[in-house]
């Protein structure tokens, strides 16, 4: 069984145009008192305009840290980008000065955070905070900025925007606050939005509203969207392609339909199998045994091996590269990759 490791470019499945964002072999570590935690260990992905990439993972998988590195908002120290490239429209962001980086951030790429209440400043009105985007980046006057803020709030569906522009964040409900966050991210019409668990703190009925809004805006402005989440349901609803992360690595990439239909990594399969299904009522749920690894002590070889039902000796000694996944007869499956020594058995078996 000859393994077919592929180059970084082929991994992401890109061929023609240059993608909006390309992350290549990104490494991030946290230097803590207890040792060095390797949060991201060689991650590759790309996003095109108008495309939604979902990064799926549990806490500690490196999904948020990798996107903080992309945005340039990593807490440093203790976090350090120790290697790799972040190409945004062909420019390596890691080589830019802080000042240049700041201009990109907000204007060309923006982030929506999970917890809108703690991401908004409680002592300024929502209008001031929205208007700040225009005053700082575009040098608008206060009056102009406020008008723009009202416009934005209307755009994201906040009723009574003219009155509410003068209210403070605590006067908004959770769903409305998240809309304010989206409005802020949208203000300068960025090309890329990174949404880190944008709906986790919201109730399902409100979650549906917010996800719909994000999707509509993305289509309208033809933005790239990176959606970071642990929710297999949200991913299935909105993503075009998925990168599954485990212990700082991407273990599987695939277009959304294929990932759910035929996972090629035992971790992905385990996650999908542990979703309660109708015909399993009264039976035991499938559960991945064990616990996610401690990043200070990532298991040797494949990080998933202590929890994997298929693990063999090779899994304990050799780190599996991201193999290009193919059909049984060798036909390529574009965009698919699996970091498992036994991806063939997982996919076809």
């Amino acid at each position: 069984m000859s393994s077919t490791a592929v180059s970084a470019r082929a991994k992401t499945g890109d061929t023609e145009e240059t993608p909006l964002l390309q992350v290549r072999d990104l490494h991030v570590e946290f230097r803590t008192r207890d040792g060095v935690a390797k949060a991201v260990n060689g991650v590759n992905y790309s996003v095109r305009a108008g495309e939604t990439l979902a990064i799926l993972g549990e806490s500690g998988s490196g999904k948020s840290v990798s996107s903080q590195a992309v945005m340039g908002i990593l807490d440093s120290p203790p976090g350090f980008v120790t290697g790799g490239e972040i190409l945004f429209k062909g420019r390596d962001l890691l080589k830019l000065s802080n000042e240049e980086r700041r201009k990109v951030r907000g204007a060309q790429m923006a982030m929506v955070f999970q917890d809108a209440l703690s991401s908004l400043n409680p002592v300024h009105t929502v209008g001031t905070q929205l208007g700040e985007m225009y005053r700082v980046h575009k040098g608008s006057s206060k009056k102009e900025a406020k008008l723009k803020a009202v416009e934005l709030m209307e755009r994201v569906g906040i009723p009574g925007a003219k009155e509410r522009v003068n209210q403070y964040p605590h006067q908004f409900s959770g769903g409305m606050r998240q809309r304010v966050m989206i409005a802020m991210a949208l203000a300068l019409e960025p090309d890329l939005i990174i949404a880190d668990e944008p709906t986790t703190a919201l109730d399902v009925t409100v979650q549906a509203q917010v996800m719909e809004l994000l999707g509509d805006l993305q289509r309208e402005y033809d933005m790239g969207l990176i959606l970071i989440t642990h929710d297999l349901g949200v991913v299935a609803d909105v993503a075009d392609k998925i990168a599954v992360m485990y212990a700082g690595r991407i273990v599987e990439t695939a277009p959304v339909h294929e990932l759910y239909a035929r996972p090629a990594h035992p971790y992905t399969r385990g996650l999908l199998d542990s979703i309660p299904r109708l015909d399993q009522k009264g039976q035991e749920l499938y559960a991945i045994k064990g616990l996610p690894p401690n990043l200070l002590r990532i298991p040797s070889g494949c990080a998933f091996n202590p929890r994997c039902p298929m693990a063999q000796d090779i899994c304990r000694s050799e780190v599996p590269p991201l193999h290009a996944v193919t059909e049984e007869d060798g036909r390529p499956l574009p965009g698919r990759g699996s970091a498992c020594h036994f991806w063939k058995e997982t996919l076809h078996g």
């Binding site: 549990e58 806490s59 409900s173 959770g174 769903g175 409305m176 109730d203 399902v204 009925t205 409100v206 979650q207 549906a208 509203q209 996800m211 719909e212 642990h230 929710d231 297999l232 349901g233 949200v234 991913v235 299935a236 609803d237 993503a239 959304v256 339909h257 759910y260 239909a261 385990g270 996650l271 999908l272 542990s274 979703i275 309660p276 299904r277 109708l278 399993q280 009522k281 035991e284 749920l285 499938y286 559960a287 991945i288 045994k289 616990l291 996610p292 929890r307």
Partner: protein
């Protein structure tokens, strides 16, 4: 300022809420017209009540021996307050909680202590519900201090180790502290503590929502296995509808302090008749991308109203697409809707809506 507290219709159909007793035996817990209002006061020296947050407002249901009743609803619907009132951690404002026929909502002192032994709780957050300065042995053994009759002093260490074994933890961990465990393991410690007094009813308030996806299934399996082993009755509060469906025999849906629909899992998930249940089910993201383009979603407008000043009549009417004049005037009772009464259909279950309709929602299944 605040509008006068409107008279709460306590005729909330006790009879109607009691579903047909299909070979379930005696209910172990009967809840009747339960209310919990938190007063809103004004003034610093002279406090004056200006209103009340009606967190739980006239809830009735039964819990049978060995069954799991799932309670779903959005934040602020009163599901956690309901749990606290059942535990007597909060005093009910009105209504009854009958444990084996005995009203426990007004019990105090010795009687309350005796009852508490039989109803235990598992909390949501395994990080804050365990005392960081106590060892696991002390945490799980603490209930024995309060109820020494369950395990005599000499046997306690052994009893704690047995409990650790039951919940799938190594009995040698007895002297470790909570921070040495992961989230899933801590939740197991919380469950072991809940089991210590051999209760009959366990109220689990979002027991898996703080856990990683790959660990949730482990804890759900443990809860089910314990239920079979000890014939426990669960009240399982959660917002994850697919997990609730998996574990529950019956499901109750709450909205703004009221139970709006209750029935077997099939009745609620396959034949929801209340518009709120339908919206809730359709809003849940389904972990299956096939057919996502064709899926019809009911997207509710607006947010849940304040429980301090709930809408008149049907509380859901402000967000409901079916609302008519009648909904603003008459409070719909939780009963089998008239259209389905006497029919042999899964849609014939208790639903508090004037315009109940059996709609097949492709939702969380």
């Amino acid at each position: 300022m605040a509008s006068p507290v409107s008279a709460v219709p306590t005729e909330d159909a006790i009879e109607a809420a009691v579903e047909k007793p299909v070979e379930r035996g005696e209910p172990i817990l009967q809840v009747r017209d339960l209310e919990k209002h938190f007063p809103l006061t004004q003034g610093i020296l002279i406090k004056k009540q200006v209103g009340a947050v009606k967190a739980v407002d006239g809830v009735s249901f039964d819990l049978y021996q060995g069954e799991t009743l799932g309670i779903v609803g959005e934040s602020g619907c009163g599901k956690s307050t309901l749990a606290k009132v059942l535990m007597n951690l909060e005093r009910a404002t009105a209504g009854q909680v009958l444990y084996k026929g005995e009203d426990i909502s007004k019990a105090s002192g010795r009687a309350l202590k005796a009852i508490r032994r039989n109803i235990q709780m598992v909390f949501q957050d395994p990080y804050t519900s365990l005392n960081p300065r106590m060892t696991v042995g002390d945490i799980i053994g603490e209930p024995f201090e309060i109820h020494p009759e369950v395990a005599p002093k000499g046997d306690r260490r052994k009893a704690v180790q047995d409990l650790l074994d039951v919940v799938g933890l190594n009995p040698e961990y007895i002297n470790r502290y909570p921070h040495q465990f992961s989230g899933g393991q801590r939740q197991r410690i919380g469950i072991a503590r809940g089991l210590a007094l051999k209760p009959e009813v366990i109220i689990a308030d979002e027991p898996v929502s703080a856990l990683d996806v790959s660990v949730q299934a482990q804890v759900i399996n443990l809860l089910e296995q314990l239920q079979n082993e000890f014939n426990l009755s669960y009240m399982f509060i959660a917002h994850d509808l697919s997990i609730v469906r998996h574990i529950s025999d019956r499901v109750g849906v709450m909205y703004l302090g009221r139970m709006v629909e209750i029935g077997s899992d099939e009745e609620i998930y396959e034949h929801p008749t209340h518009p709120y249940t339908q919206a809730l089910l359709s809003a849940v993201p389904v972990p299956d991308p096939s057919g996502r383009e064709g899926r019809e979603r009911i997207i509710l407008s607006g947010d849940i109203p304040s429980p301090a000043n709930p809408p008149s009549g049907c509380r859901f009417r402000t967000r409901c697409w079916k609302a008519q004049e009648k909904c603003a005037i008459d409070v719909p009772l939780l009963a089998v809707p008239e259209v389905f009464r006497g029919q042999d259909t899964p849609a014939a279950h208790a639903s508090a809506c004037h315009f109940a309709e059996d709609v097949d929602v492709v939702g969380a299944s």
